[in-house]
Amino acid sequence: MKDDVMKTPIPVSLPPLATGLIAVAACAIFGWLFLLAESEVAVLGLVLLAVLAGWGAQKTGLSATLGTAMHQHSGAMNGAIVASLLAVIALLGTEHFPLLMLSTMLLYLVAALGLNVQFGLTGMVNFAGAAFFGIGAYTSAVLTTHTAVPPLLILLAGGLIAALIGALLIVPVVRTAGHYSAVVTIAFGVLFKTFLEVNEVLGGPQGLMVGSMNVFGWDFNNGPVLMGHEMSFYVNYALLSSGLAILAFALTRRLERSWLGLALDSVRLDETASACFGINVVRAKVLAFTYGNILAGIAGALYGMMISFIAPNSFTFSDSLLMVSIVLLGGLGSLWGSALAAVIVVLVPEKLQILQEYRFLLFSVLVIAMLLFRPQGLLPRGVRSYFPGGRAQR
């Protein structure tokens, strides 16, 4: 009896859904404060608060409750998360820089989700994520300035060109095992940047202007008006980036929770055994590689339009490493992990300028520490459940 009482950490326990909704709201308020925080002290305080909250959630079993909420009430929870994201964007309203950061983070997340399919699910490390992102951005630079292709289609074109150029790498990447294919992607990433720097048509080291996004006649250079107030034009990009991130997330989730996701896992874990059970290893790898590059290309195309000026320096090997570290920090194969890690890797250094200089060092140390002490990542991926709440579930 006494034991039972001792084991209950929180005397009044809310049902999982209520706990989950409160947590989402708390995260949204936190994110809003964080994006607006000006002084380094305030930012540092918030970072510490987040670390403590994360640690506390683990210790008190709150994170397990949240997992249950995500599992049993996925519809309501996902809806709440989307609503909070929209609310944060609306609240930021006129703040150019925070909105730009938020959108950048979301676009990095899209690319990281693609890399997670390649690396986390299929086991193919791609150290050229930023190059594929850059291919998308350059595609949108060329198409917005030289053609009248509707910009929404240009996003697709960015993904398509990234996939096509990626196809050049498919033979070496798919045929070589393990570390060699990683080396192939490193070489490609470096080559890509050098190619841009010497290519006068693509602007050389100075780079290119990119036209703005335009959806059915609505030019993204105009700030939308909400109840008589004109908001930052970045609100447009934040909304579209959110839409893209949600779409990429949902699609990647479906991929993971399908026979194809199972095949990708099997290929990562044991290629020979996979082939012995009829899995087409080459198809699985081509699929994963192409899928990831398409996501990176689409995200890059929108990124180019948003920052309106791109140069080879925005797509370096270091940026590729940042993308890979998002996947590693969050947890291999963990989609929510990638989302959390994208926040950490993209937003924190932007906010803490002292870190900006050392961010690569910092993330290297963080990734190494992670691999040593918590190799499954910040939000470890669980056992695959094909359908949330379905019978073939548990």
């Binding site: 194809l260 044991d270 695959r384």
Partner: protein, 258 residues
């Protein structure tokens, strides 16, 4: 339909200077359990790897179910109806029991991109069907395991892993099952249990043929209809267990005396 399901003709496989298989002739009849035995390094596992297309033979033929499958590639061999387990367990330890069994069912499910991403209802039906099928198969080995279909395999003891490996091989309803030392790493009692399981499987799937590699002679004696003994990649004896056990050449090969 011929009585012979699998046939090797002068099968040879060399690794550099090592002749792992050196002109092996062998036949597996439909519905029989054949024991493949021989000292360490005599080429037993290599013969499985050649049949299943992991290695291409240096020379010789493999015929299965009336067709030449020499050098066909692992995926095609599987589709032809041959499934196997591995000497060292090769399950995906992070994945659930269900996932591991379903890997074996890969050729029977819809792997289309559109279907998997967009047709959630169709996929749901396939998952439910697959679940029922996998669960029934697992329940045939252990009711307890069948209640934990979504537990990760890595947490299970060796005997349970072996059972799941066998389920993974059986879920596609193969014509031929190749078992590579299923008793490896198990206690005496566990081995006995697994033997019961294998016999039960054979009773349930009447026309299934099995080739089993084993070092445990008790297992071979109990399970097999026919035995083939390898030494240095060659067949040195064959017949019923009693016949090969009495063969002086087999005794020499095992004891290493001349």
């Amino acid at each position: 339909m011929s009585e012979v399901l699998l046939e090797f003709e002068g099968l040879a496989k060399s690794f550099g200077g090592v002749r792992a298989l050196d002109g092996l002739d062998m036949r597996v009849k439909r519905g029989e359990i054949l024991g493949l035995i021989g000292p360490n390094g005599s080429g037993k596992t290599t013969s499985f790897n050649v049949v299943t297309g992991i290695y291409t033979p240096t020379s010789g033929r493999v015929r299965f179910d009336g067709r030449d499958i020499t050098g066909l590639g692992a995926r095609k061999v599987y589709e032809a109806g041959i499934a196997r387990t591995f000497q060292r367990s090769r399950l995906c330890l992070d994945l659930s029991i269900f996932d591991n069994v379903m890997i074996g069912n890969h050729a029977r499910v819809n792997n289309g991109l559109w279907f998997n991403l967009m047709n959630r209802r169709g996929l749901r039906r396939e998952v439910e069907d697959g679940y029922a099928r996998a669960r029934e198969l697992v329940a045939g080995f252990s009711a307890d395991l069948a209640d934990r279909m979504f537990a990760p395999v890595g947490a299970l003891p060796m005997i349970e892993r072996r059972r799941i490996e066998i389920c993974r091989a059986l879920v596609s309803a193969p014509k031929l099952l190749l078992l590579d030392e299923p008793s490896a790493g198990m206690t005496h009692d566990e081995t006995a249990q697994l033997m019961d399981d294998i016999l039960a499987v054979r009773d349930r799937m009447g026309d299934l043929s099995i080739v089993i590699i084993e070092h445990e002679m008790g297992v071979i004696e109990r399970l097999t209809d026919h035995c083939v003994v390898l030494s240095y990649g060659r067949k040195i004896s064959e017949g019923s267990y009693a016949a090969i056990a009495a063969d002086p050449e087999v005794q020499t090969a095992y004891l290493g005396v001349d």
